[in-house]
Symmetry: C2
Subunit: 141 residues, 2 copies
């Protein structure tokens, strides 16, 4: 795509759009979340509600903790828990009109941040990789 | 610390030194690796040999796969496996004299890269967070 100056770049230029983001739903059984995480290969993914609003994230760590915590380590018990029971609820988000530097700040402490519109509808994610690749492009300009 | 121009910054300025890096040894039982990973909170850590040379990395994903793959999901069986049985062996590394831009490139596809000396002795890790914080500093100069 055409070269834009760093000051012109917005989160929209760098984000992965929702249709390409692996995610799970609030009310999925934890077992399903495990499937999505293992198949997609990602360590953590966004959690959406039935209206496609962002409600949290879920990671392999949380699932591992559940398995280890369960009496007799019966993984089948995962099917009794829902994503909403164990997901991380207090997750940062950003809008697609945000600037590059705001995007960069948002991924300093998180591997990715979800992109939402004014009403909280999920639009995609901004990853550290996308920010780093943009910095590399800048460096060689 | 004193401000250095980006061209002067080396991996050494940004790395986490080995004494602050959670890691496991080649011959530890997988059960021990799980303990280190859960206690440290990290998703993946370096694996060292008895001489403190870097030999690979191990992640929660690999351990999760083992648990799920095991008959009857008996987590105790983790104690029969060694880190060396399941670790990622082909891992990139970098030296502490490498430049900022080489450091940045090394973490485009990996959350962290291990820092080693000419003989492969482990000296620390370079994380995406350290690179991103440096870029933020630069941006405000
Ligand atoms: N299937 C794959 N193909 C190629 N490279 C892969 C990969 N899986 C992981 N990686 C590499 O490993 C990094 C860490 O992935 P992780 O799953 O821990 O952490 C990921 C994951 O939690 C999430 N993520 C990335 N892409 C996603 C997607 N399409 N759907 C859902 N979540 C995604 O954002 C985090 C940061 O992603 P980022 O790209 O910066 O960083 C990724 C990427 O560089
Ligand atoms: N205990 C903690 N305290 C504060 N923030 C935490 C944290 N654990 C995780 N984070 C945050 O989450 C990011 C991803 O951590 P993760 O464990 O997947 O991936 C980590 C981990 O695999 C490894 N790592 C970082 N510090 C480490 C250390 N002291 N020892 C061993 N491995 C480390 O490097 C990866 C990238 O680290 P990075 O700092 O760029 O990015 C970290 C950091 O921003």
């Amino acid at each position: 795509r055409e070269y834009k100056k760093l000051e012109e770049i917005t989160v929209e230029d760098l984000m992965i759009p929702s249709e390409k983001v692996a995610h799970v739903m609030l009310n999925n059984p934890l077992e399903h979340a495990l499937l999505v995480l293992t198949r997609s290969g990602y360590f953590a993914v966004p959690v959406l509600d039935p209206e496609n609003k962002l409600v949290g994230t879920i990671s392999k760590t949380v699932i591992l903790d559940q398995i280890l915590g369960i009496e007799g380590y019966e993984v089948e018990k995962l099917s009794h828990l829902l994503v909403s029971d164990v997901m991380e609820k207090d997750v940062p988000s950003i809008t697609k009109t945000a600037s590059f530097i705001d995007g960069l700040k948002s991924v300093i402490d998180e591997p990715f941040v979800s992109v939402v519109d004014e009403e909280g509808y999920f639009e995609g994610i901004l990853t550290r990789r996308a920010i780093l690749k943009q910095v590399k492009r800048e460096y060689y300009q």
